[in-house]
Symmetry: C2
Subunit: 170 residues, 2 copies
């Protein structure tokens, strides 16, 4: 079970990046995403719509109190941050863990998040994107098996093509 | 040499996602990003600023005619699209190629891009993010070696920490 926690969402500025985080979480095998910051019904609806069409299970939820949420979580809490230790060196350990919370920032992550996390891990020591960090972490955690994940109750499916587009209605 | 081509940039809607594409391209070992669509000086400046501070070489360029650009490119053109064939099955072949153009859409990719590309490849058959698709492709292409890439002329460097933040000025 992987839960993604996205901190400090801002409706106007972050809508697309948070949507990408949610879709990556779903596509790469996480079970749900919780977000904090500003509540955003349009974000929730677009993620729910993708899950309804392309399958699940996957959920998106809002929390007004992410600290309580982190503290109560039973499992290992991994904060993805450029300032952390190289994630690839901790992967052997983490692959054995069944219940993980993956925390990704927002613009400014408060210092206590670094303390509440069991691991602060970096996906490269370079500034890039929480979307990419999430994808890389999940890819290594699931060892590439997520690329063939089967989604339940999907109404749509891509039929891979060398050229062009083909969708199958299920 | 990896060149990323980002199609159909829109200043208002895509600024952050295109910025993430550019930063991922840089952080995961591509040499440059070309973008088409609307010219966006603010995007260019923010990417140049990151390269100046964190090192390179990495370039961002605008093209008003991406079709000419694709046609003239000497190397293998890979279009990343959810409709394509699973990328992981073509990786052995592509790892031998030295000059690659990685094309990522915009909202609507015109049909001729599918035809001009040598490969149309999907990073999962699920809708997610061009940012994640780029990162995964580069990670598999460089076989994880990009995670330790050395950047030239960097003025800033992260000193990895278990908790907290440490930056070193070079």
């Amino acid at each position: 079970m992987i839960t993604v926690l996205r901190l400090g969402h801002r409706v106007f500025r972050d809508q697309r990046v948070t949507t990408h985080c949610a879709l990556v979480a779903r596509a790469f095998g996480a079970n749900k995403i919780i977000y904090s910051g500003e509540r955003d019904k349009s974000l929730e609806n677009s993620v729910k719509k993708v899950t309804k069409q392309w399958g699940g299970p996957f959920g998106i939820y809002y929390t007004g109190n992410y600290r309580k949420y982190i503290k109560r979580f039973r499992g290992i809490k991994v904060h993805l941050t450029v300032y952390g230790l190289p994630f690839q060196k901790n992967m052997t350990k983490l692959k054995k863990v069944k219940e993980i919370m993956l925390i990704v920032g927002g613009e400014k992550v408060p210092p206590d998040v670094y303390r509440m996390a069991d691991f602060n891990l970096a996906v490269t020591q370079q500034p890039h994107s929480e979307v990419a960090a999430l994808a890389l972490f999940l890819h290594e955690y699931f060892q590439g098996k997520e690329l063939n994940k089967d989604f339940k109750k999907a109404k749509l499916e891509v039929v891979p093509q060398q050229r062009g587009k083909m969708l199958k209605k299920l």
